[in-house]
């Protein structure tokens, strides 16, 4: 297969990359564009460390061909912060100690961000389900759920 041009937005900026059509979105984000905040922890679409948002939906970037993102808007963990101001869920993670080694954190934040933007008075079960696809080996998840809860209860405002 011939290489193709992919034009898309990442974290608000336009990018143009010349890629093999089989290239995964995770590879383009990390290896071509250098957004290494997005991690990878498996080969089986199981761990969620590579989760990003595509047009507002959380997606595991190892399960998507980059070329499918033609003209779309991708947000990675690097895109959550605006001009040095952290997003509500990022601040809630800090306050609740919702990370330890930090390797799953970018993916967790992206899953949580997509959930929070849609959720209306979610239950604790729904909060837990929102990060069901993300494995964390350190925290035991409860501190992450507490952070999501705090944001959905309006305890953190956009700065």
């Amino acid at each position: 297969m011939e290489k193709q041009v992919l034009r898309f937005k990442v974290n608000g900026d336009e990018y143009e990359v010349f890629i093999h059509p089989k290239t995964l979105l995770a590879e383009v984000i990390r290896d071509h564009l250098g957004f290494t905040g997005t991690k990878r922890g498996c080969e089986t679409v199981s761990c969620g460390a590579c989760t990003v948002n595509i047009n507002g939906f959380s997606v595991k970037s190892c399960s998507v061909l980059a070329i499918q993102c033609q003209d779309m808007e991708v947000t990675t963990v690097e895109g959550l912060e605006k001009n040095g101001k952290l997003s509500p869920i990022q601040r809630a993670f800090l306050d609740n100690g919702s990370y330890q080694c930090g390797f799953c954190t970018p993916g967790m934040l992206m899953s949580a961000t997509a959930f929070i933007s849609e959720a209306k008075n979610p239950t604790k079960e729904q909060m837990k389900e929102s990060i069901e696809g993300n494995v964390c080996r350190c925290t035991g998840y409860n501190s992450i759920v507490r952070a999501i809860e705090a944001v959905t209860q309006g305890k953190y405002k956009e700065e």
Binding site: G41, C47, E81, G97, F103, E129, R137, C138
Partner: protein, 759 residues
Amino acid sequence: MSHAKYSVINTHVHNIDGVAKVTGRATYTFDVKLPGMLYGKILRSPHPHAKIINIDTTRAMELPGVKIVVTGKDTLGIKQGIWRRYEELCDEQVLPLEKVRYIGEPVAAVAAVTEEIAEAALDLIDVEWEVLPAVYEPLEAIKKEAPTIHEGVERNVNVTRHIEWGDVDEAFEDADYIREDWFKCSGQAHMCMETRAAVSSFTPEGKLTVWASTQSAYYTQGLLAGVLGLREGDVRVLAPYVGGGFGGKFELDAAMFCSAVMSMKLFKPVKVVFTREEDFIASKRRTPMFYYVRTGIKKDGTFCARESRMFSNGGAYTGMGATALYLSGFFHSFPYKWRGYRYDGYRVYTNTLPSTSMRGFGAPQAMFCSEQQIDWICADLGLDPFEVRRKNGHTEGYEVPGQAFIASCGLEQCINEIEKWVKSKGKLPANRGIGISSCGFMSGGIFNWFDSPYSFSSAVVTINVDGTVELHVGCQDIGQGSNTTMAIIAAETLGVKVEDIRVHSGDTAHCPADLGAWGSRQTLMAGNAVKMACEDAKKQLLEFAYAEMGINIVYDLDIKDRWVHIVARPERGLPYGELVKKALRAKDGQRIMGRGYYTPHRKGMISPAYSYMMQAVDAEVDPETGKIKIHEVMTAHDCGQPINQLGLIGQLEGAASMALGYAYLEDMPFEDGKMMNPNLVDYKVIKAPEMPEAGIIEIDTYEPEGPYGAKEAGEGLTNPTAAALGNAIYNAMGIQMKELPITPERVLKALREKKEVQK
């Protein structure tokens, strides 16, 4: 002890690496990219036991883009192991010369311009094998007729360990009741989110720099220097952010070794990252153990004697397994007073994935057996499990004969709190039960099998002219938050704020040597070193303050919240920043520098201090499917003085999730030496929906050996959970679970057997 006297310790402090971690700025070895870097891949053995007759790399070398292919013949062939002091336990050539001993063992390595080319080249390496008979279970491998896995090792017994105190036989004679049971404890994968990874860069002046995902930069430096024939000082190890360790990342691994060997031949940086499958099949696991436990007790519940024999599946090599063998036997006695105690542990080589240390270090297995058997004995004799544990439990001032001295112990309060909690739950619905389990754990090991000539922990603190502080430590932050804990201790000691401290760690070129993150050692050992270094620096500042303030020498001076003052008259003083500026001038411009270290002395055989805890697990069994639902976990926990409040909660919740996984989900089935589920689809870890609430009741004690009274937290809590779940199921269903993990199949089998007996 009053906590109010501290201004930083045990307050709500954000992790100092937090912003880096929540914004994606934190870079791990996995993210390291150097100019001209090559990518390495490892060819692994498909056989559990086979002689390497020949390896032909010609075809692989011809593939465009391939820069090098190495085998054992391209190395010094040194047998290495982390028990460096004991030659016979250094039994592993990372690229073996003569034979392989497990499926997944490295055989050759390739470096190429891309990862894809390196991967493709693996298929072009031709290996001629002579397949040998293999053995997979310790109780088989120990038989006379079993194949020999390591030449000269009789009956495949790798290490033995005998622990004994008191007159065991006489103590058994005094017992009114004796019970014996066999248990089978499984392995567990560390499953760090960041798989094993290393980037090595060797340059023409003969210096090697290695970025590694490691729990101890110093161990990695020493081990690499040893196998590569370099001086330790010529190897610089950088451990930037590390994506988890859990006891699996402080030995030499194939990512480190193969990347270094290839870089030394090419003078180019080489990166090796394990796939998740490689991480499962070829990085050592928690040690599977067979336990025989015999316990003698008086009618009134007084413990007399215990005798245990343990056979562990060591897999193909020693690694840290030798330590797990000892600690399992020691903690199997915990947290109780035995008049007579005897443990005989046998670590047996098999042709399976080697086993090693993992969070809890042999104690989760030991407690699964001990704490369940105690509940069964209580049921047999009609005794109260809380009362029996209280009656026999460790107390402050107790000496484990010849082994350990217990200077602080909150076990009784832990038991009282959990008893209250369990009773408050009242009567539970059918098929639901609460189980309890207590235990203790060490705060760092006293042993020095690595043969380190350095202090166990060291710290250097430097105060800049503006009052900011550079803290250099060798302890390793692997996500447990040790950098934050050290910053808190430094800020408290110097009397400044956490944001004044910059912690430098994970770099052997700039940080003092330290044994690293294992055995729950850092808070106590590195914490003491940091405290000493800061006290040293503070003393220099205060000496100058005495002269500057012109006060009576009988007054005590101190610094708190950046205010230097007379203790008895806190309003009299001067700002810390001002003092630092003046003190520097008085020292001819030299920055204030303090040094500290810690090496345990006269603290027994195991550890300087012990944490204590009791846990309760509330669980429900579906009698139709055997499925388990965990409703809640509650722990009463004595870690001395908590230092890092958020970090402590996180560590304890995290321990509960990992230990629950071990108890009922995580299984590593092997068939003919091959792991059957080496991926995250089939290897089940706890995910958010299964995770129950896991509350903590902190018990207030003060450990005299720890910095500000602190001791272990976070590792020990992996110990009680499997037993507590087993006891919950026993209380709910009346079945005894003697094998881990407690899967639905095993529950159903036990329920069927119970029915058979009742017929």
